[in-house]
Symmetry: C2
Subunit: 230 residues, 2 copies
């Protein structure tokens, strides 16, 4: 019996990857005098992966990696004013209003009457707090957890902290790698809600369609109906 | 009766400000062709304060503000290779080994046998987690909380989460603004442990020497003796 539902935030409750995508476009235009779009994209991703352990996730980490990549790809020819433009991308992203996915407040409102709901999101502490607060969704959540990685051990600690047995827990998210696989490994139930865009780093594997506790939905609004069948 | 002790981390358990200080020196040398040391310091601080709400605390935020300041102070004349040097400062800081203050492991070892101990630190999630893990101090702590700000409401939430009454709680730290004043306001006990260097932002006020629940010590090793008198 499910008593508690965990929700990922970025691209599950509100749009994030679309914002990164727009910034990537502007970044590639900025560097288009030096390199084609594909080279810029590939090199930026390689820099981000190299820096991930040190910087972690989020907009500030992305910005530092984007500046580093721009310097490398231009052999140091990029001007300070162009680097300033990259810095400004970052501020624009950090100030961007929160845009909820369709059906989110209604579904959370309904579910919060029947289940305990927890936000479990990774990334930058301050930015995630800002988005959560601006989203006006916090009244529906009993707890919120901002973590630096979403591994089996992260989820184990959270379930332990709130005394939730894995068999009573269901996690909803758009990343197979971060939201689905670790939960299935722990013995919980997972609902995969794909988002049209996925950052390469989160593209880990194929959906485990044959797993007994794995479900895939198209819209968050289908969740209450699914829950009545579990 | 005190049952639980909260410890700040940066400059209470391990050195941090000395590392920032060294980086500031190198940063001022880098910009010395353009401006005197005082102007660089003041402008960097003003940039950091302007960006604080958006970026939060920590090394990545410092680095983004340092790059912005360098571009402004040189009217865009700073080269990409010099900006790369600032980026490298940031990586060096993030990789810097944790250096504990004298007496820290011994004192925590002793106190953890008699009290519940909680780490309460602000800053970057991943960097603080790395330092905590490298410090080898985690066995002494029952809980750890990395927060984006240390206000009365932050502490209230933490005490509520672990069901601790303020009168049973003592907080130890080097920042009057973040570790001491909010705790006294909440009705807890606070031990101020000044560090030789303090970032201007944390210099909020004079020690509230007349407050009944305020104590000031020179070394963490004096803490067990103080606790026997409370």
């Amino acid at each position: 019996m499910i008593t508690t539902i965990g929700f990922d935030a970025d691209d599950t409750l509100w749009h994030t990857e679309t914002l990164f995508e727009k910034t990537h476009q502007k970044y590639k235009e900025l560097l288009s005098r030096y390199h084609d779009s594909k080279t810029v994209e590939t090199t930026l991703y390689a820099t981000e992966m190299r820096n991930l352990e040190l910087f972690g996730y989020g907009i500030k980490s992305f910005t530092l990696s984007a500046i580093e990549t721009a310097i490398t790809l231009t052999n140091g020819k990029i001007s300070a004013d162009e680097i300033k433009i990259i810095l400004d991308f970052s501020k624009k992203m950090l100030r961007h209003p929160v845009e909820l996915l369709a059906g989110v407040p209604e579904t959370l409102h309904f579910l919060s009457k029947h289940y305990k709901i927890i936000l479990i999101t990774k990334g930058d502490l301050r930015d995630q707090e800002r988005k959560f607060s601006e989203s006006d969704l916090s009244p529906y959540f009993k707890y919120s957890e901002i973590v630096s990685e979403k591994t089996v051990s992260t989820y184990k600690k959270i379930l332990h902290r709130y005394k939730i047995a894995p068999e009573n827990f269901l996690m909803v998210g758009n990343s197979l790698k971060s939201d689905i696989i670790p939960i299935l490994e722990l013995g919980g139930t997972a609902v995969y809600l794909p988002y049209p865009l996925t950052w390469a780093h989160e593209k880990a594997c194929l959906p485990p369609k044959d797993h007994n506790y794995f479900y895939q939905l198209e819209h968050i609004e289908e969740l209450p109906a699914l829950l009545t069948t579990l």
